[in-house]
Symmetry: C3
Subunit: 147 residues, 3 copies
C-alpha cells in the first residue's frame, strides 16, 4: 500500500509540475520557472524557436516570446504520465493563447500543441530534463507573437 501511495504522489507532483510551468511563464515568474527544470535541461521548441540548452536559455526564449504581450494563458489538459523509478515520461496538451491589444490583424493568436517530457526525480522533487513542443494547430493572428 505504501508503494501505491508513493506512485500516486509521484503522479500528482508531476501533474503539478506541468501546471507550474504554465503559470510560471504566464506570470513571468522566472524564479518559479527555474523550479520546473534541471539546470542543464533541454527544450526543443520546434522549427521557429529551436533547441534551448540550460535553464538560462529556456528562460530567455520564454521572456522574448511572452514579455511583450498583454497576456498569455497556457491551459494544460489531458496529461499522461509513465513512471519508471526515478525517471518518468509525461505528455500533456496545451491550449496556448497569446494576446496583445491593437495588433494589426487581430489581438489573439492561439497555438494547440503537445508537450513531451522526460523527467527525473531530484532531491528537490521532480524536474523536467527534456521538453519537446510539438505543434498541432494554430488560429488567429501570428503577428501577435511577431510572426
Amino acid at each position: 500500500m505504501a508503494r501505491t501511495l508513493e506512485s500516486l504522489l509521484d503522479r500528482m507532483e508531476i501533474i503539478e509540475l506541468l501546471h507550474r510551468y504554465a503559470t510560471a511563464i504566464d506570470d513571468h515568474d522566472w524564479a518559479r520557472l527555474a523550479t520546473c527544470f534541471t539546470p542543464d535541461a533541454v527544450a526543443l521548441y520546434g522549427p521557429v524557436l529551436g533547441r534551448r540548452e540550460g535553464i538560462a536559455a529556456i528562460e530567455q526564449t520564454c521572456r522574448t516570446s511572452l514579455e511583450p504581450l498583454d497576456a498569455s494563458q497556457h491551459i494544460i489538459g489531458t496529461h499522461e504520465i509513465e513512471l519508471d523509478g526515478d525517471r518518468a515520461r509525461a505528455r500533456c496538451y496545451v491550449h496556448a493563447q497569446h494576446t496583445k491589444a491593437g495588433t494589426p490583424g487581430g489581438d489573439n493568436f492561439v497555438i494547440g500543441a503537445t508537450y513531451l517530457d522526460q523527467l527525473v526525480r531530484t532531491p528537490d522533487g521532480w524536474r523536467i530534463r527534456e521538453r519537446e513542443l510539438r505543434m498541432l494547430w494554430q488560429e488567429g493572428n501570428p503577428k501577435v507573437l511577431g510572426g
Copy 2:
C-alpha cells in the same frame, strides 16, 4: 502515511469542487452551485459584473448571465492548490465559451480567465469563501453575453 493520504484527498476534493462549480453553472443547477460556496461567500467577478456577496447574489449573477444562452462551457484546467490546515488557496484557468445562435455578429463569445480562490474546510467538505475572476483574453462576439 495517513497525513500524506489526507493531503491527497484534500487536493482531489478541491479539484472536484473547482469542476463542480463549472458544470453547475453550465447546467443551471443552482442547488449544486450552492454546494460550492460558504453561505456568506464573496465573488469578485471583475469590472463589469462587480462584487457579489452571499450565495443568493452569486446565483443571481450567474443566472442573469447564463440562462439566456443556448449553452455555456467552462473548461477548467491547470489547477494549483496550496493547503494550510483547514484553509486553502486554489488557482485555476478557465476557457469559458458562451453560445447563442442567431446573435448578430456571431454565435460565440469565449473568455479566458483565472479563478483565484480562498477555501475553507467545513463539516460538509471544502467550500469557496472568496473567488476572484481575472480576465486574460476574449474572442468572438461580446453581444452573446449582452455586451
Copy 3:
C-alpha cells in the same frame, strides 16, 4: 484507509482512461483505443454520426472522421467521477480541434462537447461500456470534417 486509497486509485485510473481515449484517437492508435472500451461498448456520437455498437464500429467511425485530417486535438478537462463499486459514471468536457490545411473556408473546426460515460471495472482495469457525446458549441469551418 485502504478503502480510501482504493477509491483514489479508481478515480485516477478513470481520469487516465478519459485522457487515453483522447490521445489514442488523435494519434490514430487504434489498438490503444480498444483498451478504452469493453468489446461490446456503445458510443452515442450524436445526430450526425449516430449510434455505434462494438469496438470495431467505434474505431471505424473515429478513423473515417479523423484519418483524413492533418491533426486533431481532444483537450479533456473538468472531469467528474461517481464510483459505485465495480461501476462508475464519468463526465468530462472536451475541446476538440480538427485541422486540415487548405480547406476552402478555413483550416480549423472546433467542437465543444461533453462526454457522458458509464464504466465498468474489468480484470484489465476500468473500461467504458457506454459513451454519449453531447455537443455544446462549434466554431470555424465544418468542411474540415466534411460537413
